[in-house]
Symmetry: C2
Subunit: 216 residues, 2 copies
DNA sequence: TTCAAAATGGGTGCTACTGTCTATTTACCT
DNA sequence: AGGTAAATAGACAGTAGCACCCATTTTGAA
């Protein structure tokens, strides 16, 4: 196995320092670039063609997952490891959909990171142990073809827009005024969203909107 | 100036690695302990009496701010630098109340961290530049004696409890049943909370409860 | 072009929250 | 002992969201 060329993208300098030290202490890996935002990451990947790119999910200008989409569109042969703070099922599910090989949490140890790098460089995969619940859950859902997962993906653009307004705690009437449509139309959208997301009862929709507004 | 003894407490091993590397590259600082949870941090501070303790806010078993309170109760002469992911005004305000000298964000650069350490070790203070808005705001509020800040601190224990239930999207009736009190009482608490927090309009309270549930 | 999904607008009854009151009982502090 | 804050309970009117229905128009893909 050749020495693996690694690109590291993370907007937290001190954490990035930790990553680099950890990785460079192993002779089989060589860091060829470190960047602190998404656009830089994408450009460097195009230019330097690393074997593995370690990407933070939340970065300025382009998120880790957006980078992956752009890289895959260009058919570049780069293995991706996603790094994230959060044990967020939605992000995780998206990452799996994008066929990402490594998904590790920032709370992982240096040893875990190295294991992940070795697995991925050998064509395997690595997912942080704390996420195994999600793995099992996703596997079950997809095997049973239920598509029971109530997800934002199923919503239409207009429904998403309504959700954004809801997260700001606007009433149907206010939203109707803002969008220049009838408040009844807004309430119909609300009903459809509740239906798709399987939300029942008063204010369950508002709760969902607030808790998920960062993903809209 | 003697060499400063530093304790580092953070539950993310890779980030901790970055911290340590950064700090040890300067000869005026010596790391005497690194720990990954709050109780360990407190015990090591008691035992080793470092000059400066760098504490993550969110850690298992004891948060950074809780550690500070316990340390101050013992009258230990340890300078504290708080590290955090979030630009959260509530935490920041609490930290200032606790007379913490350093408050820096994890997105800071290695240079910023060193500046913070030097300032604090010389009896000064350091606050991440992104937080200057808060600094100014807090200063203004306290100078003008308004206490206009609608804060969770003003709430009674029962009101806090009600907020927790609200964040779970329970109705007044459900909450009343759970606590074995009349639903009218619950609605009175709601009204009082809205009043104290200056929340107006339908669902503004629910929105607040959901957005602040982590602090309850 | 034809068909389906999405967006638009509406009706009706019910329930929960809001705003604005009053009032009583505890509990704690001076 | 007296006073204050907190917790308890209630009345009453107004508004918004929800859960059912319904129909029409616009849009886009097969």
């Amino acid at each position: 196995m050749n020495i693996q060329k690694i690109l590291v993208a993370d907007d937290h300098p001190i954490f990035r320092q930790g990553l680099i030290r950890t990785i460079e202490s192993h002779s089989s890996f060589n860091i060829i670039a470190e960047v602190n935002d998404g656009m830089q990451a994408f450009n460097k990947i195009k230019e330097l063609k690393p074997d593995i790119a370690i990407l933070d999910i939340s970065m300025p200008s382009l998120s880790g997952l957006q980078i992956v989409k752009k890289v895959q569109n260009l058919n570049l042969d780069v293995k991706i490891i996603i790094l994230t703070m959060y044990t967020d099922e939605e992000f995780f599910s998206q990452a799996i959909d994008l066929d990402i090989k490594g998904y590790i949490l920032k709370e992982s140890t240096a040893e875990d990171l190295i294991v992940a790098l070795k697995n991925v460089s050998n064509g395997g995969s690595y997912i942080s142990p704390s996420l195994t619940d999600y793995v099992i859950k996703l596997g079950r859902e997809r095997r049973s073809f239920i598509k029971a997962k109530p997800s934002l993906k199923n919503l239409t653009p207009t429904e998403r827009k309504i959700l954004k307004y809801l997260a700001e705690n606007k009433t149907s009437k206010q939203i109707g005024d803002d969008l220049v449509i009838s408040y009844k139309t807004v309430e119909n959208h609300r009903a459809n969203i509740r239906d798709k997301l399987n939300l029942k009862g008063l204010n369950a929709l508002l709760k969902f909107a607030i808790e998920n507004k960062s993903k809209l």
